[in-house]
C-alpha cells in the first residue's frame, strides 16, 4: 500500500492504495469520478481515456505508482460548465448513440485540438484510432471535431 497525492482536475486528492492499482480504479472506486468508463481494461478501446499532462492516455493501464506529481484531467474537469468547444459540438452534432465511449472520445478529441487546432480528416482519423465506438458513430465524431475546430479558430460554416 502507498500514500499518494493525486493532482486531478486542479484539486489534490489524497489516496491510500496498492501501488499497482490502475488509475481508472482509483478514479472510479476511490474518488467516485464516474465519468471515465471501464471498457476493455487492456488499453484497446479508449473508453477510459484521461489526460496525463495534457496527453490522452488509457487510465485502465496506468499503475498509480507511475503517476507521481503529473497532472490528470478527467471528463469532469475538461470544462467548468460542460462547455468545452468539443462538448458543445458533441451536442450540436448529436454524436452519441449509446454514449458509453463518449467521455473517452471527447478527451482524445480535446487533446487532438490542443496539439493540432485545425486537423485534416486524416489527422482526425489517426488521432482517434484508439477510441472505439461500437455504435459506429465515427462520421458524427469526425463532424463534431471539425465543427469544434472551426469554433476554436473563429471560422464559421458558410
Amino acid at each position: 500500500m502507498g500514500h499518494y497525492s493525486l493532482k486531478i482536475n486542479n484539486k489534490i486528492y489524497p489516496v491510500h492504495i496498492e501501488h499497482d492499482t490502475p488509475l481508472l480504479w482509483v478514479l472510479r472506486d476511490k474518488l467516485k469520478l464516474y465519468g471515465t468508463k471501464y471498457g476493455c481494461g487492456i488499453a484497446q478501446c479508449g473508453a477510459c481515456t484521461v489526460h496525463v499532462e495534457g496527453i490522452p492516455m488509457r487510465s485502465c493501464s496506468i499503475p498509480i505508482d507511475s503517476i507521481g506529481d503529473k497532472s490528470i484531467t478527467t471528463i469532469e474537469g475538461l470544462s467548468k460548465q460542460s462547455n468545452h468547444p468539443i462538448q458543445i459540438a458533441w451536442e450540436e452534432e448529436d454524436v452519441p448513440q449509446c454514449g458509453y465511449c463518449q467521455s473517452g472520445q471527447i478527451m482524445s478529441a480535446a487533446a487532438l485540438l490542443e496539439r493540432i487546432p485545425n486537423p485534416t480528416d486524416k489527422q482526425i482519423e489517426r488521432a482517434m484510432k484508439g477510441n472505439i465506438c461500437r455504435c459506429g458513430t465515427y462520421s458524427r465524431i469526425q463532424n463534431a471535431i471539425k465543427s469544434a475546430a472551426k469554433k476554436i479558430n473563429g471560422l464559421h460554416d458558410e
Binding site: 488499453a43 484497446q44 490522452p56 488509457r58 499503475p63 496539439r115 489527422q123 488521432a127 484510432k129 484508439g130
Partner: protein, 97 residues
C-alpha cells in the same frame, strides 16, 4: 515523423510513455543505447501486427503497413534512438517473410 508521432500518441503512449521509457517492470522501454538492428525492427513489426505471445503481453495494434512504417520510424528516431528510415516497401517485405 509528425504522422508517426500522432500514431504513437493514439496507440502506444499509455504503455511506452511520452519519453519511450515505458514503466519499469510492466511496459518495456523503447529507448536503445545502440544502433537498432534489422532483427529488432522485425520484432517490432511482429509485435505491432500480431502482439506478444506472453499472457498479458502486448495486444496486436490494428494499423496499416504505412502506419506501421510511420510509427516505427518515429520510435526509432526519437529519445536518442537513431536508425535509417524503414520504407513501406521494406516493411512489406518484413511482414511477408
Amino acid at each position: 515523423m509528425a504522422r508517426g508521432k500522432e500514431i504513437y500518441i493514439a496507440n502506444c503512449i499509455t504503455c511506452h510513455q511520452p519519453d519511450g521509457n515505458g514503466i519499469t517492470g510492466i511496459y518495456p522501454s523503447l529507448v536503445r543505447s545502440n544502433k537498432i538492428s534489422m532483427d529488432q525492427t522485425k520484432r517490432a513489426v511482429q509485435l505491432i501486427s500480431h502482439g506478444s505471445s506472453f499472457e498479458g503481453g502486448m495486444k496486436p495494434i490494428h494499423l496499416s503497413e504505412k502506419e506501421i512504417a510511420d510509427v516505427i520510424n518515429y520510435i526509432q528516431n526519437s529519445w536518442g534512438n537513431e536508425t535509417p528510415a524503414t520504407s513501406t516497401t521494406e516493411l512489406r517485405a518484413i511482414i511477408n517473410n
